[in-house]
Each structure stands twice: as structure tokens, then as C-alpha cells.
Symmetry: D2
Subunit: 285 residues, 4 copies
């Protein structure tokens, strides 16, 4: 599927104070994504540098405003995305003894996913279920049914421990809770930020990945978008790793807009079957 994505973010900070921004807006550099016609415009045209995380393909851009003021960043790209499907019944949990050791950190608790404090809750709710893909689906279903999707009720400090009881939030909170429950059951899980086709209203989106049957599978407890229409931006332990913008200094957001459309104008035909993408970073691009 070929998608055109576009985002624009703008900030204002006080004159006379330096402000450093790191943006994570570009399509990730992974095998599942072929990027064409990409541009990243920064206004004013300040000095910047770029960085790609080794193993995950996240692409960061740092901008410095030595003297504060306004900054806007506009990203545009055309991206071809591919994915693999799977058969639910075939996708099994991997016991801790057979997990690749490099994947273990995705079973550890993180800032927004305190799986260590949700062990008993996860056991009580999901512990007696059949292990495998359907158990992670049951986690997503639980979240979908019991947490209300409500903009403006949570903020950048809200974590899964709170969402487990406060039962409200946005896509980011839904993903964090899904990740925390998975890890509490020894299922490696991680956070994925993305441009998402058919998200209404258009905005950045967050979903999660769980490691099952030897690969990473995508899950969206919000049920807001088709999983085959995602352009991945970043992959991390949780939102702390892959904020769209990380700011050192005091700045105010003055605008944020996102658009995603399919170039052939069609809607996704995703039928709900498992979706996995090849997250190996491109080499020698």
C-alpha cells in the first residue's frame, strides 16, 4: 500500500533563551517501508543534525534555536508499506527460556508501563487464559471495553498503573496498558508511534507490538484504525523513548497537524487478521 503522509508542528519560545528540539517525525528506516519523495522543512533554517538509532531504525532530527523564538517543522513523504499476515491459532507465546536474549528488555518495566506493579492484576484477569495470540487479543478487548477513549483526560505523566484504575485516556495510554499487561505475563511488548490511515480526526497514533511465535505482531486496543495502514515512525519501550518532539527549554506548542492518505484513494481492506512488519533496519541506504 502506498501512503502519503504529512505532519506539521510549530512551537514558540521566549526570545533570549536557547531551546533545543529533537524531532522524531520521519518514517522509520525499516525493511517494511520504502520511502520516496521525502522532505523535512525547518523554518527558520536553523542548524540541525540527524541520527538513526542502530537497531530500531528510528530517525531523529535535532534543531537548535540559540536565541529562542518560533520554530515550525514540516515533514512530508510517500511511503510504500508491506506486511505479513498470520493465522491466529499458529502464533504462540515464546517461553522466557527460549526468548532471544536481546529481546528480554521488552519484558522489563518502563516509565509508563509498570508491569512489575500489575503482575497480580494481569494474572487475575488473563492468567488462566490459553496462552498465545488470542490472549493478547483478550487484553486489547479488555482495554477497549473498560477504558474510555477521552481526549484531554490524561497527560504526559499518565502511566499504565493509573490507567488500570482510572480507566480513561487516549491511544498512548491504551498502548501503555496493553504493553504493561503483556510484560506482566512475560510477553515482550513495545510501543510503536505511527501515521495511521483512516484515523478520525487525523493525528499521530500509537499502537503496540507483542513478540509471539518468533516475531513482532501489531495490536491496537483503540480499534480506531486498520493495522495494515500504518507508517511507522518510532519503536521504543514506551512513549518516553519516541516522543514526536522532545524539548529542552520552555516552549509552547502553537500548532500540530497530521494528514495521511492512500495514493490510490481506496480504503484499507484489512480483515482483522494478524499483522506483522519487517522491522529490520535498511542497511546501506
Amino acid at each position: 500500500m502506498k501512503l502519503a503522509v504529512r505532519s506539521e508542528v510549530a512551537y514558540r519560545s521566549d526570545r533570549g533563551y536557547p531551546c533545543t528540539y529533537v524531532f522524531n517525525l520521519a518514517a522509520a528506516n525499516i525493511n517494511a517501508q520504502q520511502v520516496e519523495d521525502e522532505s523535512l522543512l525547518v523554518d527558520p533554517d536553523v542548524s540541525r543534525d540527524h541520527y538513526e538509532t542502530d537497531s530500531l531504525g528510528n530517525r531523529l532530527t535535532r534543531c537548535q534555536l540559540a536565541d529562542g523564538g518560533s520554530l515550525s517543522v514540516q515533514y512530508e513523504a510517500v511511503v510504500s508499506v508491506t506486511h505479513s499476515s498470520g493465522i491466529v491459532a499458529d502464533i504462540e507465546e515464546v517461553p522466557p527460556g527460549r526468548l532471544p536474549l536481546s529481546i528480554l528488555p521488552y519484558t522489563y518495566p518502563s516509565r509508563y508501563c509498570q508491569s512489575d506493579r500489575l503482575m497480580r492484576m494481569a494474572q487475575s484477569e488473563f492468567g488462566r487464559m490459553e496462552p498465545g495470540f488470542t490472549r493478547v487479543l483478550a487484553i486489547c478487548d479488555w482495554i477497549y471495553r473498560r477504558v474510555d477513549y477521552l481526549s484531554g483526560t490524561t497527560n504526559a505523566h499518565t502511566s499504565a498503573f493509573e490507567t488500570a484504575t482510572e480507566r480513561q485516556g487516549v491511544c498512548r495510554d491504551f498502548a501503555h496498558l496493553g504493553i504493561a499487561f503483556c510484560r506482566a505475563l512475560n510477553i515482550p511488548a513495545r510501543f510503536v508511534s505511527a501515521y495511521a490511515l483512516e484515523l478520525q480526526p487525523q493525528d499521530f497514533h500509537a499502537v503496540f507490538e507483542a513478540y509471539l511465535g518468533g516475531r513482532w505482531w501489531l495490536f491496537d486496543p483503540t480499534r480506531l484504525v486498520p493495522l495494515d495502514g500504518l507508517v511507522r515512525i518510532g519503536t521504543g519501550r514506551d512513549a518516553a523513548d519516541i516522543a514526536f518532539a522532545t524539548i529542552w527549554g520552555v516552549a509552547e506548542t502553537t500548532m500540530q497537524s497530521v494528514s495521511v492518505r492512500r495514493l490510490d484513494g481506496e480504503r484499507s481492506e484489512w480483515d482483522g487478521s494478524p499483522v506483522s512488519v519487517d522491522v529490520t533496519p535498511h542497511r546501506g541506504a
Copy 2:
């Protein structure tokens, strides 16, 4: 039912430092309880004073050790307790508009029962149930099934907000969570400490009361004891109000023992039907 109760608590504090204790060990002064042959021994025989809370019949004793050292307190009493039963189907929730205004504070959040933060969870779990006594029974059942009774896993700081996710605790934590869920559903609820017949191992116990159909009904989410075999000690918003011992100064508990027995040697014949006791304080005793 006539019960003999006995408790002994002992503390040690450093010599040279004053230490003030307030004990809440005596059977409450309420109509449902006729106290006979009561004694409260304090060793050493320090100065003390007594106080009864106006409307709840809680009886406090304050002891002062001007120079620290050891202190032991032994309470013994024979108490006749009576209660009323009810028919589950008849006991209805009272809408907020018809609650006596003096009872409203029992719908407010308190230190260990943050009902304000559990609103959506209570709605999600119990909001669509038929209101009334059976809904509070469902709350108790939920707690019984999903929270593990485990000594030593919680402490004096643990509150319902944590227990809702961490899913472990003792009678005090079970009662706090029951209270918090009730209040989150606008059902007034409060904490009751008691001597409890047939509790194994013998110890102080905690249950809760919910206000339904115009009176207070007892509930025990631990299911550890018959509700007709309680000698009430204190009634409060939560455990902060009616600690067995409140200590100003640094002291270490060196012993705590409780015994409760029925004077005719019989076991309770409680059949599980609703239990309410007349909590009006005795006057002019």
C-alpha cells in the same frame, strides 16, 4: 450472643524520649453492645485519660510515658451483642437526594479510600448492575475473587487505589477497597474495626458498613468470619480514624495478641443473611 474478648499489646521506646499513645481497643459504646466485666490494665501505671467520640461511640485511652520505656496494655471484656437481619431483596440504595445530610461525608474520598480516582473503574465493573444490597455483595465477591489475602504484603501506607491494581493485602485493605468502590457508586460506606469470633489466626479484624435502605449493613470481603460474631471497637471513615494504637514518638511493637470466644462454647449459626447493628451510642451510661 455473649462473647469474651481479650487483647494485649506491648511497645518499647527509647529511654529519655517522651512517647504518647492513644489506644482504641475497648468495645464501642453502642446500643447493640452491652459490656460487662470490662477492664483495661496499663503497665506501668502511667497517667491516662479517656475520651468517647460523640456520635460513634468510639472509646479512646491516651497514655503518656514522659521518659519512654516499655508499655503494655491489656483489655478484657464480656460483651453481649445483638443484631438485626434483613431480606436482601428489600434493601435498596438511597439516592443522594434522600440521604441524611449527616451521612454525606461517608460518600467523600478519604486517606485510604480514594473513591474519586476509582469512579470509572467502579462504573465499569459494577455500574450496570442492579442497585441495592446485591450490588454491594457483588463488590465483596469481586474483591474476594481478585485480591489475594496475603499477610506482610501491604503496610500502613497502602490504600485502595493501590489494592485495586496490586491485588493483595489483608482485611484492612479488603475493607478499604470495598468502601472505595461503594463511595464511587454514591453508596455511603465506612470502616469498622472489631474483635471477630472464629477468625483464624486470632487477631484484630476489619470489615466495612454500607448505608442501604436507611441503615448501616455489615460486609466482609475476606469471608473469614461470621458477621454476627463481631464485637465492634471503632467506626470511622477509614483506618486512619480508628487505629488500634496511634503513637507520637518512636516505639516498637513487642507483642500483640487477641482472643475472642463465645461464652457458651458454640459456633456462630450465621446463615449469610444481611446483618445490621444499632450503632446509636448509649446515653447516660
Copy 3:
């Protein structure tokens, strides 16, 4: 000092759903306050009932909208307030062994003032200071200097435990932290809501009282208003006890306005000396 106070609050709830409100807007019925020309208008003219808390003089009004819709409440009064002054050096802390037992509950932790969790912090910051009025002033000074007064950063769930580290909030949060620190040092403390002369912008205000030298003294860590220009509305353990409006049902605030002025047009001449008011409720008024 004679003050004219006025407040107006309005709400909207969905038609077809009952909504019950309890308002605590009227000047408290205490000896320090003589109320003249008082009116409480409710529009529409729904059924209501009134209640005064026994020992504190708080005055509650409950309104019921059986069928939802809009509600506005307007309170006006002219109140003469008197107070006592004291000499800082004379006002001593009362050791726990000599506190009136009825005052002990104001040393317990409460929903928004988790003094049990702030013991060591209070000891570390204030434990070596000379006990007495100046120590409570030091607490207020600490809060004033280290917590930023910022509207919109906290909400109805924010408690002293959070404010101790997050260091931002409004008058309510400042008062909660002051109360929690006092209690952690065994100084009884409680929450006071009030109409406040010279508060800019005009709004409801919150301060706290600490029990020292045998009476309650007022403290305002925000330093926003003179302490002799307060018309007390409510007294409680914390904001949970004396919300301006407690609502059962789903309603949205559509307006809130407050005005306070001195009838002789003068400003307060308060010189910063200790202020205590006679909080004994009027009898037989």
C-alpha cells in the same frame, strides 16, 4: 470589618438524568462572623434542604434536579468579621499528651494530606527547628518559595504527596501541603475555605488552620490575601470535606464568579501578626 460577599455558580446537566448538588457557599455559622442580609437564590426554584454540621458551623444546601437541565445558585451576604491577634513568641505547640482528644483527628492523614507518607520529609526540612508558631511560618515560607502558583496545573485529584515533589498548584494545593507537613510534625491542622478580601483575581480561596497554644491560628502559604479579611465558608480535614459544590450525576460548570468587598471601601491594615478566629458555632441563632 464588614464585608459584602457574593458568589454565583452555574451548571448544566443532560436532560432526563437526575442530578443532586450539595453546595457549601454560605458564610459559616461561627461566633467570629455576624451575618446580615443574607440570600441564597436557586434558579430554577427546585426543592432543597439545608444542614449545618454540628461542631463546625458549615452550612450545606442540597438541591435536586429530578430531570437534569441547568441550575444556577447565587449567594449574597454582608458579614461582620472579628478576630484575635497574638504574639508570635507566645504561641507554642501543644504536645500530643496535652491535646484535647477531640482535636486528635486533625493529626491523622486524610485524602489530600497524606502526612503519614511525609513524616521523614517534614522531619528533614523542619524537624530541627524551634517548635511553635515560627515553625509553621517556616512551613508556609518553604511552600511559598518552592511551589509555583500556577492555575490549571493541578486538579481535584491532586494531593499533598504529589505537590511535595511536583511543586506547582493553587491555593488548595498550598493549603493541603501545609496541613500535611504540620500533621507530620504532630501539629493539628485543617482546611478552611473562604471568601477573601483583596484576592486578585477574585475567586474562592483556601487557607489552613493550625492548633497552637490552645487555639486555631490561620495561615496562608500563598501570601495572596490579608488574614483579617476572610469570610469563612467551611472547615474540614481537607478539601474533600468542604467542596463548594459536590455533585452526584454528570454536570458541567458553566460559570463561577466571586466578589468580596469591604463596605467602607478601605483596604485591610493587617500587619502580618497572628490571626485567630472564634470558630464556636452560634447556638440558637
Copy 4:
């Protein structure tokens, strides 16, 4: 300095249940450490595999007990450690705009170091200090003076947000709070576990590293050990990344012992000057 280190840990789990352990006990594979005569004994002699994290030199060993039971692991090594010293006045903070982008994640909040929630506290306590090495020393000094080192008061769930107010803990909690304050001031910081010479009683130790002047410097807010006598075990964002033992399954610790001694029998002559070690992993070892 040449040190002999030894640790032994043992666990027991129920027969019939699988249990997987990952141990992080071995001296890290970094340029500053030359390991000689190393051995890792596992009893019983179960299947195991080894893994070294790419960029940090952490060495993990996974053991599987398919059928539960007892397990003990004994690690011994002789390690030569070297370090660089620095001059306090020369070691400056690196502005965010000049930080290597690969180091940015050490400014993000993590499970036990919620720097996002401690921003204002860090600003209030340390924001006006001169940036640089002395500011991090001031953070350590603050922690040393205001947090009580008390075994058994905290557990595996305790995080910096709590320690900031509860003011008690062990080396792990001290390090987490130091890290959180640094990150809140934009100073990259990370967790280091180690064998520590002269630690009384002997045990595993935790300190932290801050990135200043282009390299990582060691800090120990507990002041319990000389910083030149550490044999590094692991480096991570916080303790979640480098637990000595991570266990999947239910197991009980039955023993834990550590010993560290200097082979020439001397004590450290560390004079308190800044200590930095070359953490580049050995290649081709």
C-alpha cells in the same frame, strides 16, 4: 587496582513448575576492567546460554530449570580496574544541543527515575546552582543529608518519585534519585551496579554515572565506598535494566553473599577526586 570478587546466590522454586533465571553477576566487559581467572558455577548443572549487550558490555547468563527445584550460582573473578581522574572545575555540563544523540535516552524518564515528574523540584533545589560537576555533587550531598539509609524500608517497586518525599532507602534508591534529579536538569545519567571494595556489610552495590565534559563520571550519594574500588557489573537506565537476577516463575531467595577484597591487602587511597572509567566494550576478546 587488582580485586578479587565473589558472589553466591541461591533460589528455591516448587518442583514441577518451570523457572527461568537471567543472571547479571559477571564483571562487565569494558576497557577499564581486565578480567582474570573467572568462573561461573551453576548447581545443578542445567542448560544455560550467555549474552553480552552490544554497547554496554553487560554479560547475562540464562539458566532454565524445566522442573523447578533449587538453584545456586557462584561467580568468582580477579579483576584489574583502572580509572581516570579529573579536576572538578574543568568538568562542565554539555548543553542538549551538543550531546551525542546516542546519549539522549539517558535524559529520558525511566521506570524508577521519573525525571518528568521531578522537574520543578530539581529546579527549585538545584536550578540556580552553577552548572557542572559541583552541581551533581550538590545533588549527591542533598540525598546524603536528607534521605536516611535504612535497609528493609523499600522494595523492588520503590522509585525516585517516592524517595523524593519518603526520604528513606538503600543504595539503589539513592542512585535512582540522583539519576532522576540529573535528568530533570538535562544531565544524562544512568545506573551502575558493582562489586564495591570496603562496603560494610559486604553486598552488591549501586551507584550512578552522569555525563559531563564529554565522558561518564561516577557518583555515590551513599558515600559508603571509594569510587576507585568498584568492579562494574552492569550499566543501564535504571535497576530495571540490570537486576542481578531476573526470574520468570515463582522462586524464593535462599541465600545471597558477596565478597570483595584487594589482592595486595591495602585499602583504597581515593581522595575524593572525580572518577571516570573507560566503558567501551572490549572487542574481539
